[in-house]
Amino acid sequence: MNSILVTETPATLPGAAGNGPADGNTPQLPLALSGGGRLLSTGSEWTFELLGRYDEAIHAIAANEFGLDTYPNQIEVIASEQMLDAYASVGLPISYPHWSYGKEFIRNEHLYRKGARGLAYEIVINSNPCISYLMEENSMPMQALVIAHACYGHNSFFKGNYLFRQWTNADAIVDYMVFARRYVLDCEEHHGHAAVEEVLDSCHALMSHGVDRYRHPTPLSVEEERDRQRDREEHAWQRYDEIWKTVPRKRPAERRRGESPFPEEPQENLLYFIEKHAPKLEPWQRELVRITRKLAQYFYPQGQTKVMNEGWATFWHYTLLNRLYDHRLVDSGFMLEVLQSHTNVITQRGYDQRGYGGLNPYALGFAMMSDIRRICEQPTEEDRHWFPDIAGGDWRKVLDFAMRNYKDESFIGQFLSPRLMREFHLFAVADQASDSQLRIDSIHNEDGYRRLRRLLAAQYNRDNQVPDIQVLRYERRGDRSLTLRHRQHRGRPLHGETGEVMKHLSRLWGFAVRLETVDAQDRPVGETLSLGA
C-alpha cells in the first residue's frame, strides 16, 4: 500500500508542537468548551444526546477558531437500507421515479449484500439547511468524523464555492424535486408509464449536454414553479390559432430568400434547445425535458469540484477533530479510530497496484489542501520560487480564497506543488493515434513539473471529458430537421453508442436528425450520422 500521505501527515498535525504559536494567534477556547479537559464521551456507543454535544463542540471550533461559514445543519440518522435508497436517487432525498434509479439500487444492493462494497459513511446534500445522512452503524468516533466532514467541510464548500453559488440554488432544490416527483407521477397517471419512460430515457441520454455553462438560473420555489409551468402551457394554448393554418404559404424560393439560418449561433444546451424548439413535443413532454435539464444543471458543479470538495472536507475533518483532541475533549482511542478511517480514505495506490482506479480525489485533494497550509507555514526555497504569493502567508485566507474561487481544473493548475508531484510519483502517459505504442510524456522531475501540472489540470477539464456537440441548424422552414455538429477534440472520435443517443434525440425531436463531425479547423471528418423520422 502506498502510504505517502500517512507517513507524511504527522508533520502537519495541527496539534503538533510549534504549530499553534506559528499561526500568530493563540486559539481561543470556545465558550462551550471552556470547562476544558473533560472528555465528551468514551467508548464507541453513540446517542442522540452525544451527537448533539459533538456537533456543538465541532461547530464551536469550526465557527470560532477557523471561521467556517456554513448553512444550518440538519443531521439525519438512517439505517443501512435507507442509505441504499439514498444512493439510488443519486443522493437526493427525493427524486422522480425512473427505472435507472432502480437499476442503481439493485446494483448497489447486490454489491453490498455480497460484501464487495461497503456503504458510504455519509451522504450530504447541497441544500439549505444542509442535510447530512449518518448511518446508524457508525461508531461514535465515526459519527464525529462524519459530522466534521459533511456538516462543516462539505457544507462550507457548498456555501462558499463560486460554482455552487452560481449554478445551484440550495434553498430551492428540495422543493423543486418535490414538484418534479409529483409532476412525473401525474404524467404517468395521465399518459401511461411507457410514454413517460420513453421521454425520460431520451432526456437522460442527453443530460450531459443539457447544461448551461454561461447563464445564471433563477431560483424558484415549488409554487412558483408550478405556476410558471401552468402559465407556459396556457400561453402556448392561447397562441395557438387554427386560422394561421389557412394562410396561404409562400413559395419555397421566396421563403428562402433573406432567411437567416436558425439558430444564429450554435447552441450547446441540447436539452434547452429541445425544450424550446422541438416541433412535436406535447406540453407535458416539454416539462419532463425541463425537469431533467434542471437536474443536470444541479449536478453540473459537483462533477467539476470533486477533488476540491472532497479535499476540503477531508482537510477539515482532520483539522477539526485534531483540535478536539488538543482541547482534551476526546481521548486517544477516539483519535486512533478516526485516523484509521482517515488513512483508508486518503490512500493513493500506484498505477501497478491492485485496486488502482486513477487518482483518488480524496487523497489528491487532502494532500493539496494540507500542502497549501504547509507552504504558508513552513515554505521551502522551492515553494518560495513556485508560490511567491502565498509562501509564508496566512494559510486560512489562502485556503478560503482557493475554496471560493476555483474549480478542480484551475485549482490544480494553480496550486499543485512540485513536492506533491514527487510524493505522488506522478507521471503522464501520451496515447497518440499515430503511434503504435504509448509514450511516457513527462514525470515528476525538474523538466516535467509544469507540463505534468498542466496535463493533470486538463484531465479535470470538463471540456476534455464531454464531447463538444452543439446544435448547428434547425430547418424551421424546410424539413424541420435538426443538425448537430461535433467538433473533434484532438482527433478523438465519439463512442460507438452514439447511434443510440441519436435515436433518443430523434425521438424527442420528431423529425430527421443529423450529426456531423468536423475537426478543429471545421473540415468535415468521417460520415454524417443521420436518422430520418
Binding site: 440538519q74 425512473h98 500506484g350 498505477y351 501497478d352 482506479g357 509514450r439 484531465q459 453508442e497 443517443v501
Partner: protein
C-alpha cells in the same frame, strides 16, 4: 444550531417503486435469460432460482462520450521506473482498468454484465410465466370434492353426543325467569297484604297456591335442549400425485431417458409450486410393469418387449389402492419411443379413455421417436383421444422440452 433527526423509523423501501419499474422494463430480458438457463442448467440446479445476468449493453444508458482513439494524455500515480520518452506497449482490450492505463477513462463500467438476484420464487415465477394449471381455478373454488366439518352455531335438535350443556342450562334459566316472574310479582303483593292486614286463612291458601305454581315450573325442559351444530364445508385439495410412466425397453437409450427426465422434472417443479404436497409414483414397463424408485427408474437397465397396457393397468391399481375417491389431484406423464405391437395400442387407448382419464386432472404423453417423420403405432392410437386434459407431443431435442411443456399447458388452458 444543528438539528439532529432520527429517520430510522421512516419508510425503508423508498426504492421499491424504482425497482418495480426496472423489473417491468427488463421482464422480457429476464424471461429470456431464465429460458436460456433452463436449457443449460442441470435439473438439480433448476429449483434454486438464482441470479440473472443481463448484458450491460442491454441496460446501458447511452450518452455522447468519447470513444477510443485520437490523441490524449493521462496522468497516473506511483511511478518508480519510467523516464520521459520511455515507450510501452498499449494494454490490450479496451484500455479500461488496465495497469498501465492508456485511455484514462475513469469510473467506466468495467463489468460485462449486470447481475440481478432473483429469489427462488421470482425465478420460478418467470420460468413458469403464464403457464396455468388446467382446471386449477375450478378445482380450488368450485368443484372441490374434499370436505371439512365446521362449527355453525347451535340447533334445537341433534344427537345426545352433540348436546351443549351450557347452552341448554342457559336457555332453561331464561325460560324459568320468564315463566315465573308474573307469579312472583303476585306473591310479593300478597306478602305485602299479609304484612299490612295480618294473616287470614284465605290469604294463606292463596300463598300456598302461588308457591305451588312456582314449584311446578320445570328446571329443565325438552324445549331447552341445545345441540352443537356442524356443517360440511368444501375444502380445496392441495395434494397432488404425479405418475411417471416410462418405457424402458432396449430401444429407449440414455439420451431419450434424459429427455424424459427433463420433462418429468419440469412437470414436477410446476406441480410442487401449485400444490402443497406432491407425491411421485414411478412406473417403468417393458412387457410387464413395475413400480420403482426414482434411481431405478432412470438408471437401472432392463430389457424386454413392450406392453404399454401393463403400465396403465398398474397405474389404475395404484390409484384405487392409494389415491382413491377424488381426494388427490392426479397427473399422469408418459414417455415412450412409441413402439407398441399388436392390439396393445388400441387396448391402452381404451383403458385410458374409459378408466383412467375420468379420474385424472391431466395426462400428457411425450414421444421420443427415432425418426420424427414417422407416426408410431402408439401415437396413432393416442392421437384419436379427444379430451381437454389429454395431450400428446413429439420431442427429439433437449431444447424442445421446455417449449413443449408450455405448449401442452397452453393448449389445455385454451380448451
Amino acid at each position: 444550531m444543528s438539528i439532529v433527526i432520527d429517520r430510522r423509523l421512516n419508510d425503508r423501501n423508498k426504492s421499491a417503486g424504482n425497482r418495480a419499474r426496472f423489473l417491468r422494463r427488463y421482464k422480457e430480458q429476464m424471461k429470456k435469460a431464465v429460458t436460456d438457463m433452463v436449457g443449460e442448467r442441470s435439473i438439480t440446479d433448476m429449483d434454486r432460482g438464482g441470479s440473472v445476468n443481463i448484458p450491460v449493453r442491454d441496460i446501458a444508458e447511452p450518452s455522447f462520450r468519447h470513444g477510443a482513439g485520437g490523441d490524449q494524455e493521462s496522468v497516473h500515480a506511483g511511478n518508480h521506473s519510467f523516464q520521459p520518452g520511455d515507450r510501452l506497449p498499449r494494454p490490450s482490450g479496451d484500455g479500461q482498468g488496465g495497469g498501465g492505463g492508456s485511455s484514462g477513462g475513469e469510473g467506466g463500467d468495467s463489468e460485462d454484465s449486470f447481475t440481478f438476484a432473483l429469489t427462488r420464487e421470482e425465478f420460478l415465477s418467470l420460468f413458469f410465466d403464464d403457464l396455468e394449471l388446467p382446471h386449477l381455478v375450478r378445482n380450488f373454488l368450485g368443484e372441490a370434492r374434499d370436505h371439512k366439518w365446521q362449527r355453525a352455531g347451535y340447533t334445537a335438535s341433534g344427537v345426545p353426543a352433540n348436546l351443549s350443556v351450557l347452552r341448554s342450562l342457559r336457555t332453561a334459566l331464561g325460560r324459568r325467569i320468564a315463566l315465573g316472574s308474573a307469579i312472583r310479582r303476585e306473591l310479593d303483593l300478597l306478602e305485602q297484604r299479609i304484612a299490612a292486614e295480618g294473616l287470614d286463612p284465605a290469604l294463606e291458601a292463596e300463598r300456598v297456591r302461588l308457591r305451588q305454581r312456582l314449584k311446578q315450573i320445570p328446571f329443565l325442559d325438552e324445549l331447552d335442549l341445545r345441540y352443537r351444530h356442524r356443517v360440511r364445508v368444501p375444502q380445496p385439495i392441495s395434494r397432488a400425485v404425479m405418475f411417471c410412466l416410462m418405457d424402458v425397453s432396449a430401444s429407449m437409450n440414455e439420451e431419450k431417458k434424459d429427455l424424459a427426465k427433463r420433462f418429468f422434472t419440469l412437470l414436477y417443479l410446476f406441480l410442487s409450486r401449485k400444490y402443497e404436497k406432491v407425491e411421485l409414483v414411478f412406473i417403468r414397463h417393458t412387457d410387464d410393469a413395475q413400480e420403482v424408485d426414482e434411481e431405478t427408474f432412470f438408471h437401472d437397465p432392463k430389457s424386454g418387449g413392450t406392453v404399454v397396457l401393463s403400465a396403465l393397468k398398474l397405474m389404475q391399481e395404484i390409484i384405487a389402492a392409494r389415491y382413491p375417491g377424488g381426494q388427490w389431484n392426479i397427473y399422469g406423464a408418459q414417455v415412450s419411443d412409441g413402439d407398441a405391437f399388436g392390439a396393445d395400442p388400441e387396448k391402452s387407448r381404451a383403458l385410458l379413455v374409459e378408466q383412467l382419464l375420468p379420474q385424472l386432472r391431466y395426462y400428457a404423453y411425450i414421444e421420443t421417436p427415432d425418426d420424427p417423420q414417422r407416426v408410431s403405432p402408439l401415437m396413432h392410437a393416442y392421437s384419436r383421444i379427444e379430451a381437454g386434459h389429454f395431450a400428446t407431443c413429439s420431442v427429439t431435442e433437449r431444447s424442445q422440452v421446455y417449449p413443449v411443456l408450455r405448449e401442452l399447458f397452453r393448449r389445455e388452458a385454451a380448451a
